[in-house]
Symmetry: C2
Subunit: 222 residues, 2 copies
């Protein structure tokens, strides 16, 4: 038996997703649980970033994680090592999570006593941006090897993001990646976007991200 | 004015996509035009791979390119440098191309006299795998920085692929990427899958890919 549960989440056919998302957020506010939705392309480093984030904050916040994937449980297994409460959501081929799928996941995870739940969305820079999951904030991770032109090509993802983590800065010397340009392009989409260059592998630059997240969780609980 | 046309392609509401795809393939067979559908995550190196491929084959094959993106024309502009006939398709937010959108693009590109048309699909490792575009063969590019676990997490993409290019081998020393494992995982999804490790940046390993593509185009024209 797996040391974490694997949940098959189903899309709600009749749902008004925006209404579902608002209702979910209102309930999370009452409970004092902050939900962070983390989105990126496949392989941008969501799970690695989460592992470092949990390790940094676990002594001050009670944290749960929902790992969403089309298939496989490798991410939930990786998160389990951090000691966080974790479940794996399987989307049955679906390319994103909506608010009702997120609600199903939260019901299985159990939010009682949790300060922060992190939803690792399906690796996809297109579809997850179209569906409000009910999260309080949306984080997008863009990794250096993907190139600095991505905010031009995938505009909606950068519009809905509250914070952009530019990951894998440790390999900047090996790629033609212009940090100034990606900041410029991303702020064209969302002028107030918070941007933190990080390396989830080495830990470089991550303190400012931890501070940002810690402050948002604190505000939500007031 | 742009030196290439930008086409807004629309999804057909009533379409039977599989029937549309079969009809498109039959027409391409009659014309002797080979359509290659190239899919990958954002930033895996589709455009860079295409530029090298066109440069290698342009003296023996007449090549056209359709660049599909949600927004921006940066890829069509890059391909234009190769001298190939190129158009930019904008999907209006859509996360994939279907057979009718591909047909609209081919009608605008004009296939007369072309041996090979390359469709660069939207950067997305999920949705494009679900829609037969009418292409003769499907190529998937997975890049080293994305990690070797991707065939486990995105099974359908590797099932529908005829050929897998493992790109960015020039940065293998800087990533925890296991080439043997990715081959094992990909062949779990598709036992007969052709796999070529390449670096589109340095050109390393690309001759076998050119040979494969050249042979497939030759077969199609018989």
């Amino acid at each position: 038996m797996e040391p974490f549960r694997v949940i098959e989440v189903k899309e709600s056919i009749l749902a008004d997703n925006n209404a579902d998302a608002d209702a979910l957020r209102a309930r999370l506010k009452t409970q004092g649980t902050f939900l962070l939705n983390v989105m990126s392309s496949p392989g941008a480093g969501k799970t690695c970033t989460l592992k470092r984030t949990i390790a940094a904050l676990r002594d001050e916040l009670r944290i749960g994680v929902m790992e969403a994937d089309i298939d496989s449980d490798v991410d939930a297994a990786a998160i389990l090592e951090t000691g966080a409460r974790v479940i794996q959501l399987h989307t049955g081929g679906m390319c994103h999570l909506d608010a009702d799928m997120t609600r199903q996941g939260l019901a299985e995870l159990g939010t009682d006593g949790l300060d922060l739940v992190i939803l690792e969305n399906v690796g996809n820079l297109v579809c997850p941006a179209e569906f409000d999951t009910g999260a309080v904030k949306n984080a997008v991770i863009l990794s250096v090897p993907e190139g600095h032109d991505k905010p031009l090509k995938y505009p909606l993802m950068f519009e809905v993001a509250d914070v952009l983590l530019i990951n894998k800065t440790d390999v900047l010397p090996y790629f033609d990646f212009d940090l100034d340009k990606v900041v410029e392009y991303a702020r064209l989409r969302h002028p107030g976007l918070e941007i933190f260059p990080i390396s989830a592998k080495t830990g470089e630059g991550m303190e400012r991200w931890f501070d940002w997240l810690r402050a948002r969780v604190g505000e939500w609980k007031q």
